[in-house]
């Protein structure tokens, strides 16, 4: 997707040197001009140039390059010798024929759906709850959420490792205190599902503050008289939510769900730090698989094919929303 946009904007950027601009598109700006002339007409392009060059070089080029690399055989040998070996779609065949890829893909999609659903759902509930709280309780909750939000990912991952520690973790100790003796020395990381549940809890815990704060801001913005009108009409709590709240925050909710999907689909740090995708690969997601193939095994071509497939899957999940978002934004610009 980025590649398409890149080529579109590349053309106008080429216009920087000749100061002859078509008069049709200049809009209202020229009237404000104090010193006319070539410099002023080139000025916006000069201001944009650093950003445009940086994006084409550091984002556009890698996007093209990942596609190109995915059609090459590129292992450590080829890399060191500087050889270019084209293998067509061999890398894709290798990846798609590997049963593990499909397991990992399915797992990644399921994990993303679970984490996004849990964090957006809870975030919305907390935002709704915040409206009815006594001010000091609300502030306490907001401060607590800010602490969770501000904690760097690696710090929170380390803390969660400590809380879920097999022998001395506070969670197991608390469960034993509560009478669940079987949790003495219980390992939360003995299976992939259990490991991913802990990772998921960590991600949800850290994702909720952003979601709750944004949704709360949206809720606060709903005009009071709409609720008063619903009250006069004798609407129940649920009816008021359906008729007043929901239509007002629906687009905001879609936006944060979309963003959460983008973020949670490609999570790497938390999963890697807990068990490096283990035990025996059971908590490996696509981002981890890409790392293992590409960096750990130096199969850069195969890893690039996985990256491309990752982008395609993410594109398929978010396509509908992305298209609508671009249309609305285009209207606003």
């Amino acid at each position: 997707m980025t590649a398409v946009k890149t080529t579109e904007t590349a053309a106008p950027a080429g216009d920087i040197t000749p100061p002859a601009l078509p008069p049709a598109v200049t809009g209202g700006a020229p009237k404000r001009r104090h010193r006319g002339g070539a410099f002023d007409r080139a000025l916006p392009y000069l201001l944009l140039a650093p950003a445009l060059i940086a994006i084409l070089w550091l984002i556009g080029f890698p996007v093209v390059s990942v596609f190109v690399t995915s059609f090459r055989q590129l292992n450590l040998g080829e890399l060191v010798r500087g050889e270019i070996v084209w293998t067509g779609i061999d890398n894709y065949v290798t990846v798609l024929q590997d049963e593990r890829f499909w397991t990992v893909t399915l797992r990644t999609v399921a994990f993303t759906i679970a984490v996004v659903g849990a964090s957006v759902g809870t975030g919305l509930l907390i935002a709704l709850l915040m409206r009815v709280l006594t001010p000091w309780v609300r502030i306490a909750l907001q401060v607590a959420m800010l602490c969770a939000w501000a904690m760097p990912i690696l710090a929170s991952t380390t803390v969660y490792q400590w809380m879920f520690d097999q022998n001395y973790g506070i969670l197991n100790k608390t469960l034993v205190q509560l009478g669940f003796d079987s949790f003495a020395g219980y390992s939360w990381f003995s299976s992939g599902t259990s490991t991913l549940s802990v990772v998921g809890l960590l991600i949800v815990w850290q994702a909720i503050p952003f979601l709750a704060f944004s949704l709360y801001a949206g809720l606060v913005g709903i005009p009071r008289d709409l609720y008063e009108a619903a009250g006069i009409d004798g609407a129940t709590g649920w009816q008021t939510f359906r008729a007043v709240t929901w239509p007002e925050i629906r687009s905001l909710l879609m936006m944060v769900t979309f963003l959460s999907t983008l973020w949670d689909f490609k999570v790497f740090a938390q999963i890697w730090v807990f068990r490096e995708g283990g035990p025996s690969g059971e908590s490996t997601t696509l981002a981890v698989l890409q790392y293992l193939e590409g960096i750990a095994k130096s199969h850069f071509g195969v890893a690039a094919a996985i990256s491309v497939l990752m982008m395609i899957i993410l594109g398929l999940i978010t396509f509908q929303y992305l298209r609508r978002l671009l249309q609305t934004e285009e209207g606003k610009i």
Partner: protein, 272 residues
């Protein structure tokens, strides 16, 4: 009334849920050596010591990792803000051909799944002889944060009435003078908020920091902390102290935004 107290009780429970890991990090870090790893039930600490912080601070690699993280993050954010602000001004104050496409490019580039660009980035940095150099991380973090900075700053510039600049230009300011004396000061709160979010992104980044840097002297804090078991063994108290030290800069920056956001609202009152 009953409903309200039930809601408040739920709110307080949630506050505990969100606060607990921070609480546990700090109390574990403050416990004396030997009383962290214990089978006793120790939810509330009774003695306090700072030895864990000293242990973490003096661990080999901590200070250099902290320095590397600060250096990489601050350089990348500064660059992204400067380049972002020029692009934002161009997008919001000028009418020119290709503007729309450029604004959309910024929006889309923000959503680029950078993790999927790991392989080409690695190959590119290798070709540029930047592999194992902190400048490779500066470049990556600059690229990751730039579209976001440009996009967000564009929103903030849009919020400043163009008439203010025009008035300054009528009064004899050049375009640069008007920008510097009128727009830039009003942009202050927006600049702070944008740079904090960019800072957090770069401060947190793990995958590229792990892949592009192998040598220990050049590690950033997230990578150093991920290998804490090599440094600390099962010394969870030390690990918690190191985590707390890693959290402090991020928390301070978050609190700055909170304050500046209020200041931003007050600055907005000038408009009226």
């Amino acid at each position: 009334m009953l409903k309200k107290s039930a809601a408040n009780a739920a709110g307080l429970l949630l506050a505990l849920f969100f606060l607990f890991p921070t609480y546990w990090m700090i109390t574990s870090a403050l416990k004396p050596k030997g009383s962290t790893i214990t089978s006793d039930y120790d939810l509330i600490p009774f003695s306090v010591t700072f030895t864990n912080f000293i242990t973490a601070w003096t661990k080999p690699g901590f200070l250099s990792a902290l320095g590397n993280s600060l250096m990489v993050t601050l350089t990348a954010v500064l660059a992204a803000i400067i380049v972002g602000i020029t692009a934002a001004v161009a997008m919001s104050r000028f009418a020119f051909r290709g503007r729309k496409s450029f604004v959309l490019l910024m929006l889309v580039a923000q959503m680029a799944p950078f993790e999927a660009l790991l392989i080409p980035m690695f190959l590119m940095m290798r070709d540029l002889q930047l592999y194992e150099h902190l400048s490779s991380l500066v470049l990556v973090y600059f690229a990751v944060t730039l579209p976001f900075c440009a996009w967000t700053l564009r929103g903030f510039v849009n919020g400043i009435p163009v008439e203010l600049e025009e008035a300054a230009m009528v009064d004899g300011c050049g375009r640069w003078g008007a920008f510097q004396k009128v727009t830039l000061p009003l942009l202050g709160p927006g600049l702070v908020a944008t740079s904090v979010f960019a800072f957090i992104t770069a401060w947190n980044e793990f995958l590229f920091a792990k892949v592009l840097i192998r040598s220990q002297d050049l590690e950033t804090l997230p990578v150093w902390l991920s290998g804490f078991q090599t440094a600390f063994g099962t010394d969870w108290g030390g690990a918690m102290a190191a985590s707390a030290l890693f959290t402090v800069p991020a928390l301070v920056f978050f609190l700055i935004v909170q304050r500046k956001m209020v200041a931003g609202v007050t600055a907005g009152a000038v408009k009226g």
